[in-house]
């Protein structure tokens, strides 16, 4: 095992590195660069960060875009509101997704495959169409209200669409499979002998669940929660289609900066800060995950 193995290893390491440089590092630097420039009416709509004046390189770095975000409470409120919506959605998805993942993992083989297929099945239809379908279900003269009115449960149609409730329904529905799949992968590996031992030692089923299954499934819970929490913070489409004017999320603030104000520099600064804001909860979850792995 000499030259060939070494080159093979280098190649294997180089592929993800090149990927990260091309698709994360470079776009990140481009956004950073735009966030430090000044807007103007031109193609592209921002001033260059550096130019040559009389043979000297001159930098035009501008931190005003960041300062501007501090002065207006809108941005901080939008970040906080996004974090709140993401946190509540993740918890809701966890309460619904955990029993589902548990049930699938405990099912005998032929049924388990079918159940897993059913979890993945919605992905075969466009995400956008599925969100549109929710508009049809939730709207004032929609399916849900028609059923509830017919059944005599309500007298007046419920106004759900264009409220935060509709946003939560849409987000939890859309992201549920991302939580179920890693959780299932974790739960299915659970060693049955541990549960048998716990049972033999006199623990009830409920106590066994909380003392054995739940702690052991922690890595799955964290992995699944991260897959829901992180994309939901930056979610734009679901609140845009199902949400009302009260739904404040950073995605729509970013849209306004970019399209309505055509201020690419401030839009880039908002995106940079969003990245930083997201790193904090991710670090917390990571450290929780590491602790979970040690158990």
């Amino acid at each position: 095992m000499s030259g060939g193995g070494k080159w093979g290893r280098r190649f294997v390491i180089a592929v993800p590195n090149i990927w990260l440089i091309l698709f994360f590092m470079l776009p990140f630097l481009v956004v950073l660069k735009i966030s430090l420039s000044e807007p103007r009416i031109a193609i592209p709509p921002y001033a260059p960060l550096w130019d040559w004046v009389d043979g000297a390189l001159r930098f035009n770095i501008n931190f005003e875009n960041y300062a501007y975000m501090w002065e207006d409470s809108l941005y901080i409120n939008a970040y906080l509101s996004s974090l709140k919506i993401a946190a509540i959605s993740t918890l809701l998805a966890l309460f619904i997704g955990y029993p589902m993942a548990y049930y699938i993992a405990r099912s005998p083989e032929p049924r388990r495959s079918i159940l897993l297929l059913l979890v993945v099945l919605p992905f075969w239809t466009s995400f956008l169409l599925r969100v549109y379908a929710w508009i049809g279900i939730l709207k004032t003269k929609g399916v849900l209200n028609a059923v509830l009115l017919r059944a005599g449960i309500i007298d007046q149609p419920l106004i759900i669409l264009q409220t935060d409730v509709a946003v939560y329904i849409g987000i939890v529905y859309t992201y549920l499979p991302f939580l179920i799949l890693p959780l299932y992968a974790n739960l299915v590996k659970l060693d049955d002998t541990l549960l048998e031992a716990s049972h033999d030692l006199g623990a009830s089923r409920i106590s066994s669940f909380f003392r054995i299954t739940l702690p052991l499934s922690m890595p799955g819970i964290i992995a699944g929660s991260m897959l829901v929490f992180i994309p939901v913070i930056g979610e734009f489409v679901i609140p845009a289609l199902l949400g009302g004017p009260d739904t404040l999320m950073i995605g729509s603030v970013l849209w306004d900066e970019y399209f309505k104000n055509r201020d690419w520099p401030v839009a880039s600064a908002v995106a940079m800060v969003m990245l930083v804001v997201m790193i904090i909860p991710i670090m917390i979850l990571r450290s929780a995950q590491n602790k979970g792995a040690e158990i």
């Binding site: 009416i41 031109a42 193609i43 809108l74 289609l241 009302g244 306004d256 309505k260 104000n261 201020d263």
Partner: protein, 362 residues
């Protein structure tokens, strides 16, 4: 002047994917904004193949134009957006020797459009319209009484009236540069004022009716009005007429009407223009000239129910459309129409910020 999120997202995803080919014309136009057979007829007449993409907001078009190298040969921005894009160097001057059908155009309307594009150097009017109010006749009568005449912006700007309508749904366009000036106009202020106090007064009026507004969206109201899901919408003329037509087709008993309020309304022009870096400007000129043919423009108006600026086409347009004061305003109503202004970056930011406050209370 239409907005549909889906198509925006699809268009964004497809950005830049257009490849240079032999004699192909790449058009980027508003969704639902052309007759069904226009492109077929163009290809039959000229042999030029057409790739046709759609967008649903000026903002999306503008972002693509300002990024450059869009690959499109012909786009249709609204006049005020066009003016700013001309300043950014987005468009090429038209070669009028290739546009003999310019003779068909209505001189007064082209002069109106020249306020944005001096001398009509870069653009020709495609269609034009107004921003007024669409409403469900029966639902509004039921709530405001037989005697209430819908002819004023009070229907959407008076908190007492909107409170009575809130339960059946009132919507507004998500277009701050149209809504805030409309509110200022209702207050008796100049809708084109850039004075911060005036803008704030307009926004404050909108905030006062905000609790009674179901949503701010620029396309959803078409189907919601048609289905009876909402009953009053500030909307673009042709879109409201589309809602009216859909309700008639569905035979669901919903009657939609459009009114240009007596206080006045915004008049806008959607303009055909050629990006400076268009791969096939000759084909784009050929298309502009083709659309200015009297019959072709008449076909488009008959299909989309937006007014055109082609004087020669008028006899060919459905009398039902030409006689509708919501589409072709009466001489008296024309006096109340105002044109939008182009704001400087600072005013733009003020307006967007005020709009966020109106919408979210932040």
């Amino acid at each position: 002047m239409k907005y549909r999120l889906t198509t925006a997202l699809i268009a964004l995803a497809a950005a830049g994917a257009v490849q240079a080919q032999e004699n192909v014309l790449r058009i980027y136009n508003w969704s639902d904004y052309i007759a069904e057979d226009t492109l077929e007829k163009f290809t039959a007449a000229t042999g030029i193949e057409v790739t046709y993409d759609v967008y649903d907001s000026n903002e999306v078009l503008e972002a693509k134009m300002l990024a450059g190298s869009s690959g499109y040969d012909l786009v249709v921005p609204t006049s005020d957006f066009l003016q700013r894009q001309i300043a950014a160097g987005v468009y090429m001057p038209l070669d009028k020797s290739k546009l003999p059908n310019l003779a068909n155009m209505d001189e007064a309307l082209m002069a109106g459009a020249a306020a944005y594009d001096p001398g009509n150097t870069y653009s020709v009017i495609y269609m034009w319209g107004t921003t007024g109010i669409g409403y469900n006749v029966a639902a509004v009568t039921e709530r405001l009484g037989e005697d209430y005449e819908v002819d004023s912006w009070a229907l959407v700007f008076d908190p007492e009236i909107t409170a009575k309508l809130a339960d059946c749904g009132v919507s507004m366009l998500d277009a701050p540069t149209e809504m805030i000036p409309a509110a200022m106009n209702y207050l008796g202020l100049d809708p084109n004022s850039t004075n911060k106090a005036d803008l704030e007064a307009g926004a404050a009026l909108l905030e006062s009716v905000r609790p009674n507004i179901r949503y701010f969206n620029s396309s959803q109201y078409i189907s919601d009005l048609a289905n009876g899901d909402t009953c009053v919408a500030v909307g673009w003329s042709g879109d409201v007429f589309q809602a009216q037509a859909r309700a008639l087709e569905a035979e669901n008993g919903v009657e939609i009407a459009y009114v240009i309020p007596k206080e006045g309304a915004l008049q806008w022009f959607d303009m055909m223009a050629i990006p400076a870096d268009a791969p096939n400007p000759d084909a784009a000129h050929a298309f502009i000239n083709f659309v200015m043919d009297a019959q072709i423009t008449a076909d488009i108006t008959n299909y989309v129910w937006y007014a055109n600026a082609n004087a020669a086409s008028m006899p060919l347009v459905d009398p039902e459309i030409t006689s509708d004061p919501g589409i072709f305003p009466t001489e008296a109503a024309k006096g109340g129409l105002w044109a939008s202004t182009v704001y400087d970056a600072r005013t733009d930011r003020t307006i967007t910020r005020l709009w966020t406050r109106v919408k979210t209370g932040q």
